[in-house]
Amino acid sequence: MDRRLNPDELLRRVQAEERREKRGRLKVFLGYAPRVGKSLRMFDEGRRRRERGQDVVVAAAQDKVTDDVHQLVSKFEAIPQLGGAIDLASVFRRHPATCLIDALAYDNPAGSRNAQRWQDVGEILDQGIGVITALNVHHIREQQDEVERITGKRAARSVPEAFLREADEIEVVDTPADTRELAELRELALLVAADVVDHQLQAYLECHGVTAHWGTQERILVCLTARSDAEAMLKSGHRNARRFHGALLAAYVEQDGLKPEEREKIAQHLALARELGAEVHCLKSGDFVSAIIDLAHRERITQLFLGHTQRQHSPIEKLLDAADEFDIRLFPHGEQK
């Protein structure tokens, strides 16, 4: 199924590609805690690039580092910081191929050109200079609630996840975790990285005109009708999506001739779906089956949740015939329990 782009989307895509071509490449090493070896990996990559003849300089290093990191850093040309922030003017003048910038989550001192270091990095990339940097999962803005739940603490500095998604490459620095708390952070870092990779994969496929329904992530779609036991289906969908670290969607195909109490029921189901964090789709179509199948393909659904039916000519048969990309799970109706 090919999704045609409208002229505006096409223009935006071309502009984004042009911008991307002129921009420096950003590579981020993502870790789940301090001292898992992000800095070492970052400077080691810089060393390897330099050995291959690339012009690599250090624009920001941390004060407290292990001996092996210190040894690596000392072998690079460094552009000294200016008043506690990256000296952007000097970086632009020096114009290396790649800048090494440790600690992406960093607040610049008051009065600096940008409030935060990731904004500096954005400007450096705009000049066509590549950047390699390191980031801890604590510092991703959208993950801070989750990190606080795990650790009870909240980092003061943060980087928006959107900035991470713009990175050309993200690499996970994974090591075994000693404590339960670290293990939970480790899992979080792996899942954030998987989401970034998924996002980039979809962008890549779209960019190359491929629409593949590749299910590396479980995506569950709950079909709501007035008669279905929506609560059981949505709660199960929610639990399944959470266990699989997948996505939960809910769809309702508008029907004519519903009684007021049925309308009321549907409204309740949709409210519950939203409460459980589902992405809700209300579809206007005369044909239930094709509306659901279109949505399922578009959203790369891997599991479709549907109520059992009593009727003679049920849509289940038609769905089974038409859908070979996803599993169909039938749920009992509430009153039959």
Binding site: D174, P176, E184, A193, A194, T216, F244, I328
Partner: protein, 344 residues
């Protein structure tokens, strides 16, 4: 004697640096005075990796004659006799040449663990049995050498070895992974950017899953029943049902309803496959398939039934109900999952 600890370096393709990372750890352990040997190491002609073996003791491989050629495998008995604290065993998913004693390398590794030897090993995510269909769907490659998921779940540690697809493709282009002709073919076929990204995402999600399994030990609750037949799609059905059961931490059982007097080699193979994945299997005789399944599900307190689709039917049977339709009608109080065939 306590069993040894198993640590798995998990990657998503050849050349991401699994063996290198494992050797780095081996060198660090040796520096700390740990008695460590190489049980099996696959050099792949990569200079930087070979250099990492410097100073490590290697147990010589065993040479095995097969089909007029000589093959080399890990000499598991020699490693057992040497009895080091830790052994390094590359390529966990490898299938041994017939005549090697054990069929699979993971079975050799189990023997070492049982003897109290710690093991470091490497594997790619696509070798996990439960991901076999998904990997085929994504890459078009049917991976032949697989490891049952429980073997990896039992590892004490699973560590992701990550490298970006771009960096991997650069390595391949520079000839650091394969010889030039093989490198070119690899880049065009399996090692495309999209394939690598998808496999990498799977590796990340699987490592996260392994971390979570250790954080939250299973609670009994859901029970999943897989309905097997002799149809080839049953293999897909088993993998999918088991994967869902694992993620939901549900019990998993399988049933086949045999017509009286029926013997079917394909069914026996599927049953064997299911048992290898640690699924409890049952064969019941009965001539009403759907009713037998529904009754069995109820007596076994099953919460979810997994079935394949009924295949295409000849026109003269299209007026009757399929087995799936019958089960759906007879078990309206249960969740029933009809599994996609995931064609490419």
């Amino acid at each position: 004697m306590s069993t040894g600890r198993l640590k798995v370096y998990l990657g998503y393709a050849a050349g991401v640096g699994k063996t290198y990372r494992m050797l780095e750890e081996a060198q660090a352990l040796k520096a700390k005075g740990v008695d460590i040997v190489i049980g099996y190491f696959e050099p792949h002609g990569r200079a930087d990796t070979i250099a990492m073996t410097n100073g490590l003791e290697t147990v010589p491989r065993r040479r095995i004659q097969y089909g007029g050629s000589v093959f080399e495998e890990m000499d598991t008995d020699a490693v057992l006799r040497r009895k080091p604290h830790t052994a390094l065993v590359d390529e966990f998913a490898h299938s041994n040449i017939p005549g090697s004693g054990r069929e699979k390398r993971w079975q050799d590794v189990h023997t070492l663990l049982q003897a109290g030897i710690d093991v470091l090993t490497t594997m790619n995510v696509q070798h996990l049995e439960s991901l076999n269909d998904q990997v085929w769907h994504v890459t078009g490659v049917r991976v032949r050498e697989t490891i049952p998921d429980w073997v990896v779940d039992e590892a004490d540690e699973v560590v992701l070895v990550d490298l970006t697809p771009r960096a991997l493709r650069n390595r391949i282009e520079r000839g650091a992974v394969y010889a030039p002709e093989k490198a070119r073919r690899a880049m065009e076929n399996f090692f495309t950017e999209a394939n690598l990204s998808a496999l990498r995402e799977l590796a990340m999600r699987h490592t996260a899953h392994e971390v979570e399994e250790k954080l939250f030990p299973p609670k009994p609750g859901e029970r999943i029943l897989i309905c097997l037949t002799g149809n080839p799609s049953s293999a897909n059905l088993i993998r999918r049902g088991k994967r869902v059961a694992d993620y939901l931490q549900a019990d998993c059982l399988a049933v086949h309803v045999a017509l009286p007097g029926e013997t079917d080699g394909a069914v026996a193979r599927h049953m064997n496959f299911a048992r290898n994945l640690r699924i409890q299997t049952h064969v019941i005789e009965g001539d009403e398939i759907a009713r037998t399944i529904a009754e069995f599900a109820h007596t076994q307190r099953v919460t979810q039934i997994f079935m394949g689709r009924s295949g295409p039917r000849p026109w003269w049977k299209r007026f009757g109900e399929t087995v799936v339709q019958q089960v759906v009608r007879q078990a309206r109080d249960l969740q029933i999952t009809i599994v996609a065939e995931r064609r490419r």
